[in-house]
């Protein structure tokens, strides 16, 4: 059906001869599939992804779209389950004929959907998954990542820690899944390289009820610094329970960028104060671009954006820049355009590294003070990012 539409519209497109439309597509909108968790444990992250994409799409469409094409977002609920994610991605690719796909949150979904995209000859990007493997040993020519991966976050945080608390003794508590293990490994590497000591680590199952069960190990190790990469509801429980048990009094808590976000910070209250993280975004970034973004976001959704919203917002501009550079929405042309692309985001200019499809960006060290994400340090993009480990192209 869509094919027929395309042929029917072809003469019209040539007649109109919009300078950009080279005859490859009709005047239909550009469709972007969003395969993101709308229900279940990851629903709060999915909500921020949605808000970020919606806002950017509204702005781009109001300003005339991408080379005259309007953007249309098509949502599917992936339930943070790789099997569901792949089924829904298949629908978006084959039925809705989306030009591009994003939204996956857990690394299992991103990897599986990435493989599907590769077999279907389409491109996807993740705006959330941290696991290094996605742009590392399991990289795919059809998968891009616009958010900072675990190694970038950890490098920024470890660099700050080495300066602020030299030779710190660090204990790590991660959630027991790939994203969690990846972040802990990256941070421990960063600490070791900068002269700190790793006292050990413990991995807690996802959705742990009671983190007090793990306080024994932490107390036994007597660390000065606790690193954690739990997220969402889990952070609320971990930090409030640590506060109740007096563990926050003489220990510095640092963590991954998704650990404390504007979604869960209100539930934690003062338990989140003093938490330090290496992150690609904070609503406090003092640039005109970010102020405009935060203002628009607040006006629309009545809350602050977090890193997931900011990275998802930036993704639309990434895709726009790539399509404009390619002059087309064809996979091969867009992929070539995306490689090495520089584009503006609320966090400043990002660069898509050609060697592994990982975005390079300035990293921030952020401390939570009374519900605000204050920036206490910055690390230039090229210093935070590690070498390319992807060997597929």
């Amino acid at each position: 059906m869509v094919r027929r539409n395309l042929f029917a519209a072809l003469p019209l497109a040539i007649l109109l001869a919009s300078p950009a439309a080279t005859g490859a597509r009709a005047a239909d909108p550009i469709k972007i599939g969003v395969d993101t968790p709308i229900t279940g444990t990851y629903a709060p992250i999915g909500q921020q992804v949605r808000w970020g994409l919606d806002l950017a799409t509204k702005e781009v469409n109001a300003a005339g779209g991408i080379m005259g094409w309007q953007i249309q977002l098509i949502y599917e609920d992936e339930e943070a389950n790789a099997s569901v994610a792949v089924q829904k991605a298949d629908k978006l690719f084959q039925v809705d004929k989306v030009d591009f796909l994003t939204g996956t949150v857990n690394s299992g979904s991103t990897l599986a959907v990435g493989q599907l995209a590769e077999r279907a000859g389409k491109l996807i990007a993740t705006t959330v998954s941290f696991a290094d493997s996605i742009t590392g040993d399991k990289c795919s020519p059809n998968v891009f990542r616009v958010n900072a991966r675990a190694e970038q976050q950890s490098a920024a945080l470890a660099a700050w820690l080495a300066k602020d608390k030299p030779n710190a003794k660090v204990y790590s508590l991660g959630p027991d899944y790939e994203m969690g293990r990846s972040t802990v490994a990256a941070f421990q590497k960063g600490v070791k390289e900068r002269g700190g000591t790793n006292l050990g680590e413990v991995f807690a199952p996802l959705d742990s009820k009671d983190y007090t069960q793990y306080f024994g190990q932490i107390r036994a190790a007597r660390p000065q610094v606790l690193y954690t990469s739990v997220a969402g509801n889990d952070t609320v429980r971990l930090l409030t329970q640590m506060q109740d048990f007096g563990l926050l009094n003489n220990m510095l808590i640092v963590g991954a960028s998704g650990t404390v976000t504007s979604q869960n910070i209100t539930a934690m209250g003062s338990a989140a104060d003093g938490f330090v993280t290496g992150v690609g975004y904070s609503p406090q970034i003092d640039t005109p671009e970010n102020k405009k973004f935060v203002e628009a976001f607040r006006a629309e959704f009545n809350t602050d954006p977090d890193l997931f919203a900011a990275d998802s917002y930036g993704l639309i501009y990434f895709y726009k820049a790539a399509v404009e550079k390619a002059g087309s929405t064809e996979t091969d042309k867009v992929r070539t355009a995306m490689r090495g692309l520089e584009w503006p985001t609320p966090q400043g200019t990002k660069t898509m590294r050609a060697g592994d499809h990982q975005a390079v960006q300035k990293m921030y060290v952020v401390r939570v003070d009374k519900g605000k994400f204050n920036i206490i340090g910055e690390v230039p993009g090229d210093q935070a990012i590690g070498p390319v480990t992807c060997t597929r192209w």
């Binding site: 709060p44 009820k209 069960q213 107390r219 109740d244 869960n264 209250g269």
Partner: protein, 294 residues
């Protein structure tokens, strides 16, 4: 060595105890519903969540926490009554009551969870802790609210056991559970007793929701948290046995606390489920007998 005992092992066991009491509170309603009505209530976790959300909403209206401890269970009773009369009774007399009620409550749980996320959204919320501060015992901080929970939780369990085992009402309920025809012929209003027992179990789930919300926070999928462990506790302890639920609840959480210290937290879940399988193999009726049968 003593140092290790004082700062690591002992606190680990105390926190294990507070988790144990929490699990027992959730399991209590479950085991009563099973013991009396022969129903596996798969939606018990969602009723626990409903209790927590009710506490959150009413607390936001400015109602005092201590009042909520009475008010929320009171509100849960008509809900439980309606569910038993409107849903459970429709399949209660089908040839395979276990399967039919299990499936029905399973469906109900799915619906309830989605209703909660529809009303409250997906984000985590948390009521403030009603008792602040902590005491220091042997150099270890223990939050006052946890201590309160341990004492109050055990009191509730004792009170429930007393009602079930030592009062005329309890005797009627146990008689109805043992032989409903006999009980009916002796003038026990069996239908009302069953609906009342179910509502009582639901009210206990709601009470657990109020008590645990300040510690474990509130979100739509919270019902899944405790339910697996609560089921395990009920089975290992012996379905329908209050003493069994307490023993298994406190025992299994101690095993979890110790194993997460010496093996890894990652394996504490498989260990507990392994115990479940072994107990079912060797002693399917659980470690303690059933309510009404013992």
């Amino acid at each position: 060595m003593l140092d290790y005992l004082q700062f690591v092992l002992a606190p680990q066991m105390v926190t294990g105890l507070s988790l144990g009491v929490a699990v027992v509170l959730v399991a209590l309603g479950l085991t009563i519903i099973f013991g009396l009505l022969d129903i596996i209530n798969m939606s018990h976790g969602e009723f626990y969540a409903v209790g927590a959300y009710l506490a959150l909403s009413l607390g936001a209206l400015g109602i005092n926490f201590w009042l909520l401890l009475l008010l929320v269970p009171a509100l849960m009773i008509p809900i439980g009554f309606a569910v038993e009369r409107g849903l459970i009774q429709r399949v209660f007399n089908s040839p395979d009551r276990h399967v039919a009620t299990l499936l029905l409550t399973f469906g109900l749980g799915i619906v309830l969870e989605d209703v909660l996320s529809l009303i409250y959204g997906p984000n985590t919320q948390r009521p403030s802790t009603p008792i602040r501060g902590a005491v220091e015992i042997f150099g270890i901080m223990l939050p006052n609210y946890r201590l309160f929970l341990i004492v109050f939780g055990l009191l509730i369990v004792a009170a429930v056991a007393l009602v079930v085992y030592r009062t005329r009402l309890g005797a009627m309920v146990r008689a109805a559970a043992y032989d409903r025809n006999m009980a009916a012929s002796l003038g026990v209003p069996v239908k009302a007793v069953f609906a009342g027992a179910f509502a009582f179990g639901i009210a206990l789930a709601g009470l657990a929701g109020v008590l645990l919300a300040p510690i474990y926070s509130v979100f739509p999928t919270m019902g899944r948290d405790f339910i697996l462990l609560a089921f395990t506790v009920v089975i290992v302890g012996g379905m329908g046995s209050i003493v069994g639920a307490v023993a298994a609840g406190l025992g299994l959480t101690q095993i979890q606390a110790i194993s997460s210290l010496y093996i890894s937290p990652v394996w504490s879940d498989p260990i507990v489920f392994g115990i479940l399988v072994v107990v079912l193999m060797l002693r399917p009726q659980g470690l303690f007998g059933r309510l009404g049968r013992a």
